[in-house]
């Protein structure tokens, strides 16, 4: 059974009388212990997807339609009290900037204990023991000492470890990590990613990694979802998506990696910008930047089709597949 299933999720923002779509028809499932990456440019709706899974979209945003089910329990219609139970206990979230996510005026220990005690009736001493054990499990040296320190006394990597410890406190089933390493330097990034990976494997926690670092994604995630302008454009096993990208947008993203350019040449990039929410073009949102765009792309939104083990929403891929099938049919005749 699926741990989390998101079906036809639409999230809109109601701004100045306009109803702007931020997420359109997003569907995916997450199994117990599975690690999924969501990639895409800034503004593709990755973070909004993360927040809507815990039903925490602030006004003017709202979930327009669709369902988010956590083990058959609908999250979109839950009462605030039940939601509080889900948040933290079942689904926890790690943010981008560890400088901002910890409360500057409370000690590390106070924040850890607070997180436990807001969910379970437990004495301070017991909570402290759990907290120190978790700090230990995220490889923080001398956790008893750190327990009484303030966030500003820790380094960036250390803070992100503390945040991971907070997230682990209540043994959630799902961790949503919203660009957990963007604010860290490269060596620390590798350590934090390894830590996250180990933790998810050891505790069979599911991970939803929101990232635009394809290197990180290829190391961590089993499946990858590519998003563009609020829609899923490609979904498949990470290796397939990275080695054999189907959608022109995914191809463009991979082409833009510095490793893909020849020495001495300009780096590749996808021409143009992602359309803003109020200027969404008709048809496939990517058509204005797509080298393969046809008239059909400008008028119609492509449906998902199965291409190998991935599913893709693109007319170009669809045409290629039908041509290929016709050819093989002819040959077999």
């Amino acid at each position: 059974m699926n741990l989390l299933s998101v079906n036809n999720l639409h999230v809109n923002f109601h701004i100045k009388g306009q109803d702007l779509a931020a997420l359109i028809d997003v569907s995916f499932t997450l199994n117990r212990g599975e690690r999924i990456a969501i990639v895409g440019e800034s503004g593709a709706g990755k973070s909004i997807l993360g927040f809507s899974i815990v039903n925490l979209i602030d006004k003017p945003g709202y979930i327009k339609s669709g369902s988010i089910k956590l083990q058959n329990k609908e999250i979109t219609t839950m009462t605030p009290r039940l939601l509080q139970e889900v948040r933290g206990k079942r689904i926890a979230m790690i943010f981008q900037d560890p400088m901002m996510t910890l409360n500057p005026v409370l000690t590390i220990g106070a924040q850890l204990v607070e997180a436990i005690r807001s969910h379970t009736r437990i004495s301070f001493k017991d909570a402290r023991n759990i907290a120190i054990e978790k700090l230990h499990s995220v490889q923080i040296a001398s956790p008893e000492k750190r327990f009484n320190q303030y966030p500003h006394e820790l380094s960036g990597g250390m803070r992100q470890r503390v945040i991971i410890a907070i997230v682990l406190l209540l043994n959630p089933d799902i961790i949503i990590a919203d660009e957990p390493t963007t604010a860290l330097d490269v060596t620390i990034q590798a350590e934090i990613i390894q830590l996250l990976l180990d933790i998810c494997r050891d505790n069979s926690m599911a991970l939803l990694l929101i990232s635009h670092d394809l290197g990180v994604v290829s190391r961590v995630a089993e499946r990858t979802i590519v998003m563009y302008a609020g829609r899923v454009v490609e979904e498949g096993p990470t290796l397939e998506v990275i080695n054999d990208p189907q959608h022109p947008y995914t191809q463009g993203l991979l082409n833009a990696l510095p490793q893909m350019a020849l020495p001495g040449q300009r780096l590749n990039q996808i021409q143009g910008n992602m359309p803003s929410l109020n200027e969404r073009p008709t048809g496939c949102a990517f058509h204005s930047r797509c080298p393969y765009a046809t008239d059909k792309c400008r008028q119609q939104q492509p449906d998902f089709i199965q291409s190998g083990v991935s599913s893709v929403a693109c007319f170009m891929v669809e045409n290629m597949i039908t041509e290929f099938e016709q050819n093989t049919d002819e040959e077999s005749l």
Partner: protein
């Protein structure tokens, strides 16, 4: 990019507060002010032990001793600061008066702070219509001056329940009136800080951890908003003491049988030009020094706790 800089420099062993405390001790004026304030507080707390006479004993008022000048003028060793028009020892009366004034001031501000924190937090955190409603209430409250509200309220109370009842309840009434009249100051300050804090990611993180709004407000956001509150706190205590003194001076505050500093000044003012100046001047000086040191401390705190002027 301030936090980046902090990452490179190894964190100081001393906390921000010990840093501020060191700066405080370096400032002679501030240290002197605090010393005087502490002296006042000790005097207020230990007034019953320090006062040479028990003001509650029937012998305390003796009209044969009325209007004796301070001992350095009259040479009368019994009364260091002289006596008032009813023969009460000025030193004892001023000690008790200080005690009363400080008690009323602090209690009134505690009411203001409690109301202000609750209303400010709710208003800022929940926002929307609740915020609008509460802030319009604050506007209405602020549009009446404190003195006007207090005068009308206390005068009506005197007229309705009579002087006897009023004298018994005078202290509680003063605390309530001054406390209720000025909550919007705290509420607005806290609301403004909450609005800024609410945007920060640690609030999102706390919400995602499933922490209830009440806990987020009081345990996570409130500690981040207390710095400006501390500054207003000191200034407001001196304001409350002054308000109490002014009301007492107008005859709407503490009764003459149980005088605060303001009531003493009010009584003494009648003798100002009849030669018995000390009845008015001594409590006046006591009040002025108290208010002065509190305002100096408030100013110092404002200068040094303001993040814009705070440098490390």
């Amino acid at each position: 990019m301030r936090h980046l800089k902090k990452d490179i420099i190894p964190p100081l062993q001393e906390s921000r507060w010990s840093h501020i405390w060191a700066g405080f001790l370096g400032d002679k004026l501030a240290t002197l002010s605090l010393a005087i304030l502490v002296f006042y507080c000790l005097v207020a707390i230990f007034a019953p032990l320090l006062a040479p006479y028990n003001i509650n004993s029937p012998n305390f008022m003796d009209l044969t001793n009325a209007e004796i000048a301070p001992s350095w003028i009259s040479g009368d060793e019994r009364f260091l600061l002289g006596t008032d028009d009813q023969g009460r020892d000025m030193l004892s009366v001023v000690l008790y008066g200080t005690r009363l004034s400080l008690t009323i001031g602090i209690c009134a501000v505690l009411i203001q702070i409690t109301l202000g924190i609750c209303i400010g937090l709710i208003s800022g955190y929940l926002g929307g219509r609740i915020d609008n409603f509460l802030m319009r209430c604050a506007d209405i409250q602020l549009s009446f001056s404190t003195m006007m509200v207090a005068i009308v309220f206390l005068a009506v109370f005197q007229a309705l329940f009579g002087m006897d009842m009023y004298q018994q309840l005078a202290m509680i009434m003063l605390i309530l009136v001054i406390g209720l009249a000025e909550w919007p100051l705290f509420a607005r300050t806290i609301r403004a800080s909450v609005l800024a804090e609410k945007q920060k990611e640690y609030v999102d993180a706390a919400r995602i951890m499933g922490i209830s709004p009440k806990r987020i407000m009081f345990k996570h956001i409130l500690p981040n908003t207390l710095t400006p509150v501390l500054v207003i706190f000191t200034v407001q205590i001196s304001n409350a003491i002054v308000a109490e003194a002014a009301l007492s001076f107008l005859g709407l505050g503490m009764p003459a049988s149980d005088p605060s500093l303001g009531a003493l000044i009010s009584v003494g003012f009648n003798y100002m030009f009849s030669g018995s100046w000390w009845i008015c001047i001594i409590p006046s000086l006591t009040l002025i020094i108290l208010i002065l040191v509190m305002n100096m401390l408030g100013d110092w705190l404002r200068d040094h706790l303001n993040p814009k002027t705070y440098r490390d």
